[in-house]
């Protein structure tokens, strides 16, 4: 895993912990953590999470069109964000 991806994953983990307001969660998060099935964000937390990702990475995500498969692991979400960042470069 390259350094950029590691940084992205760490940032995603940080945002998740903030949204869940649960610092203890940090220890249980890895690149393979399934955000939908293991973290179980409710709809309100999900929107806060997406908004916070937008803020952290200065990207814009279409809420209604967002593909939930990107949330099947933190690593996959990192790939998605890396792709979005590359579009802006």
């Amino acid at each position: 895993m390259n350094e950029t991806k590691l940084v992205l994953i760490e940032e995603i983990k940080k945002v998740l912990v903030e949204v869940r307001k649960n610092p203890e969660l940090t220890a249980n998060l890895s690149a393979s953590t399934d955000i939908v099935n293991e973290i179980g964000l409710d709809s309100l937390q999900m929107i806060s999470f997406i908004l916070s990702l937008e803020d952290s990475f200065s990207i814009e995500i279409d809420f209604e069109q967002f593909d939930f498969d990107h949330l099947s692991s933190i690593g996959k979400l990192g790939d998605y964000i890396a792709g979005r960042l590359a579009e802006h470069e």
Binding site: N37, S43, L44, I47, L51, E54, F63
Partner: protein, 453 residues
């Protein structure tokens, strides 16, 4: 159990707010949540707690026989439909209320069996097609006009009540994305604030704004909708340093008299409802002294003047500095608090009190509800008359439906079925209820359930 009154058909849709909302109004950012729609659709089973002997319960997905039999063992005597009102009701995208479904020809035999002429209709909320449903089946509805019910359930109405009472509302209304931007910037200078949809519900329709970038993003999202012709109306409130959420349930009779029914502490997980528990005498005394109940009586009078009668649940809170915010929102309908009060009424015969909680669960295997109940009983967790404590599972389909709709268990690789376990923790003391919850969590973990809250 309320002898001498006409028996009732008890029914309702717990997502009443979605029917009241102006379809042309702009929306806060939202993401599709099909599982939540299923679960909310299945919450009508909770209304058994408001059924008296001889009543009938009409539920969207049909009451599983195992749950009906369990409730019978508890002493509840009511009829219910076994099968879904329509096969379409199982489509998660179906936005139709239980009354709309009940009006369809497919559902008529089930409704007619449960609702012989002359029954009352006890509805969770006054929503579209309630009146038509009542007329179609010859039910005495005694419900206020739909327009009146819709109006008083708006958070904008709650906000204006402060003016009527000569009090200062913590909130302010914005009527455009630009107004939101301006007011939001001012509020942010003092701290985080909430944007509330006039018909937002717990966990949906409220958004916490803690940074200018988030505000700008939401403004942009709303502006895009305004350009498509949507109108904007939201209530903004500073995020207050809250210590306790509580709610007051009362009923306004046809002649305007009000009857206080209960006060419940609300247990929230962030902004989502987690549970209810009866308020203790110390809180009631404090509220009495602060003039809270006198204000609730005045509020009941205002609602009646505005054409509403029936059940009301007013959400309130107490701040860390002790100040009481009496009206967070008015829910002119039945409520989870009322359901918990109903359960407490039942449990009082055993010298127990209950704590209604909901746990969001993920699980891998298809769930057989009858086997689930049997397992809870084997483990000594299930409440039955004569036991000094135990948990009462309140809704079967909210827990099991997702797995039962899938054709081929187990769940597709890497996916979990989602369900919500509504239970009443019945015991004598707070400590016993806490122990019961800990034991239930352990039970769930030992069976590889993921508990999300």
């Amino acid at each position: 159990m309320n002898k001498g009154r006409a028996s009732a058909l008890v029914a309702g849709s717990f997502d009443a707010e979605q029917f009241w909302r102006d379809p042309g109004a702009s929306r806060l950012p939202t993401m599709p949540d099909k599982e939540r729609e299923f679960i909310v659709g299945a919450m009508d089973e909770l209304l058994f707690a408001l059924c008296a002997e001889g009543d009938a319960l009409l539920v969207r997905y049909g009451l599983p026989v195992a749950q009906h039999a369990y409730l019978y063992r508890l002493g509840y005597r009511f009829e219910a439909n076994r099968t879904p009102l329509t096969s379409l009701a199982l489509a998660p995208s179906s936005p139709r209320s239980v009354f709309a479904l009940g009006l369809a020809a497919e559902a008529a035999p089930a409704v007619e069996r449960l609702a012989p002429q002359g029954r009352r209709l006890s509805a969770y909320a006054v929503i579209p097609q309630l009146a038509e449903f009542a007329a179609r089946y010859g039910l005495a509805a005694d419900a206020p006009a739909y327009a009146a019910a819709r109006a008083v359930n708006s958070k904008i109405y709650s906000h204006h009540l402060y003016e009527r009472f000569g009090l200062i509302s913590p909130g302010q209304i914005v009527a455009s994305a630009e107004e939101l931007r301006q007011a939001g910037e001012q509020l942010l200078a003092e701290g985080p604030f909430l944007i509330k949809d006039p018909y937002g519900v717990s966990g949906k329709g409220n958004l916490l704004i803690a940074a200018p970038s988030l505000l700008q993003r939401v403004v942009k999202h709303l502006l895009a909708q305004e350009q498509q012709g949507a109108s904007t109306c939201f209530l903004l409130e500073p995020l207050l340093d809250k210590q306790t959420d509580f709610s007051c349930q009362f009923r306004i009779e046809a002649d305007g008299r009000w009857t206080r029914l209960s006060v419940q502490r609300i247990i929230n997980d962030a902004f989502a409802y987690l549970g209810s528990t009866q308020a203790e005498p110390a809180l009631l005394a404090e509220l009495e002294q602060a003039g809270y109940f006198a204000l609730m009586e005045r509020l009941a009078g205002e609602l009646f003047k505005d054409g509403y009668r029936g059940h009301v649940c007013v959400d309130s809170m107490q701040l860390a500095d002790g100040m009481i915010v009496p009206i967070v929102e008015v829910n002119a309908r039945q409520s989870m608090g009322l359901i918990n009060a109903g359960l407490d009424g039942y449990l009082s015969d055993f010298g127990l009190t209950g704590n209604l909680i909901s746990l969001s669960l993920g699980y891998e295997q298809r769930l057989d509800y009858a086997a689930w109940l049997a397992e809870l009983e084997r483990e000594g967790l299930l409440f039955l008359p004569g036991r000094s404590s135990g948990l009462i599972p309140l809704a079967a389909n909210a827990l099991c439906l997702a797995s039962q709709l899938a054709e081929a268990p187990p769940a597709p690789a890497g996916k979990l079925y989602k369900g919500r376990s509504y239970v009443c923790l019945a015991a004598r003391t707070v400590a016993e209820r806490a122990l019961l919850l800990a034991n239930y969590r352990q039970f769930l973990h030992s069976r590889r359930f993921t508990v999300y809250n």
